[in-house]
Symmetry: C2
Subunit: 194 residues, 2 copies
């Protein structure tokens, strides 16, 4: 349990599904940039990929990020720029797959997340062990009602859903990313998680 973690997070705005299971593209939101960047920075994620096919959404995101990296936000709250500097905007997942493999080599493992229960899901302790034994990981999250079915054909594994005390499984993607990063990267519990 000693290798330095190599973990990236990608937030997909397309292709994702809506409430009725239809494949859609969703809008980038300000707090998905901020909250997830802050969680990524806290837990040592290398790059936070924000993926949207819409050029104007990427431009809007670039302007938001620039406010905190170069604009008034830089002096008002430098910690925020520190987190948002992890973001890279891309138009589709395949670009992210190519770039993470350029960075970490061909055996980057792509792990999807999903709120539904199913068999053959990867457990959190297993993923944590893989990460700390030196396996580079790209973690995929979907906005809306989650990643579209076609995304799962591109991944190596899917993580178990986050289970609470009942059947309610409607966490925000911001909460899901935070909890999952804590489970697989958080310092807490190294003593009781190994």
């Amino acid at each position: 349990m000693s290798a330095c973690p190599q973990v990236d997070v990608a937030l997909l705005h397309a292709p994702v599904v809506n409430r009725r299971g239809e494949v859609i593209g969703s809008a980038v939101t300000n707090l998905d940039l901020h909250d997830i960047a802050r969680a990524c920075r806290t837990f040592g994620v290398d790059t936070y990929w924000v993926v949207t096919p819409y050029a104007r959404q990427r431009e809007l995101s670039r302007q938001i990020i620039s406010h905190w990296l170069d604009g008034h936000g830089k002096t008002a709250n430098p910690d925020r720029g520190d987190a948002l500097s992890l973001i890279r905007l891309r138009s589709e997942l395949t670009e992210v797959l190519v770039e993470t493999r350029q960075k970490w080599g061909p055996d980057v493992q792509v792990v999807a997340t999903c709120a539904d229960r199913a068999s053959e899901r990867m457990s959190y302790p297993y993923l944590r062990k893989r990460i700390f034994s030196g396996q580079p990981i790209l973690l995929l999250f979907g906005t809306g009602w989650g990643l579209a079915p076609e995304v799962f054909t591109l991944v190596d594994a899917t993580l178990s859903p986050i289970l609470g005390s009942g059947g309610y499984n409607h966490l925000s993607v911001r909460s899901a990313v935070s909890i999952i990063l804590d489970r697989v990267l958080g310092e807490y519990g190294d003593d009781i998680r190994k």
Copy 2:
């Protein structure tokens, strides 16, 4: 580890501190209502107390919640109302202390959260054990840069901060609530946390 958890969450908008450590009141935000209610609902929290001294902020919050409980949101996305129904709006912490003690008896333990490291902080496994042995708990979170010093004079204990891989400790309150509820209430890891 078998008692049914009795845990409430309170989000304080005053008294909290700003970036310079000054005691202020902060504004209620829509996503603090939604994200934290969804996390509370997922992990079996009984009541999510939203505390602000500003009557117009409570009224605005009431209107937002009402949209999802009674308005168009009820039919568009009933899961959201399911979560937001946990919210109770109050003007100050003392009201929450009185009401949680009316509900669960005089030995409700009030546990603050804080991003700073210090000695004498309660550990997560310890709090988890207390909860599952039947201790009723009120967990306090602060908006802005955290709970004001005077709040800590009213609490029984303060939880350890969430530690990531480095010194960056600027998670959003939405992320912090999600991670802390997962650590102390999440089903995951009962096998490796006990």
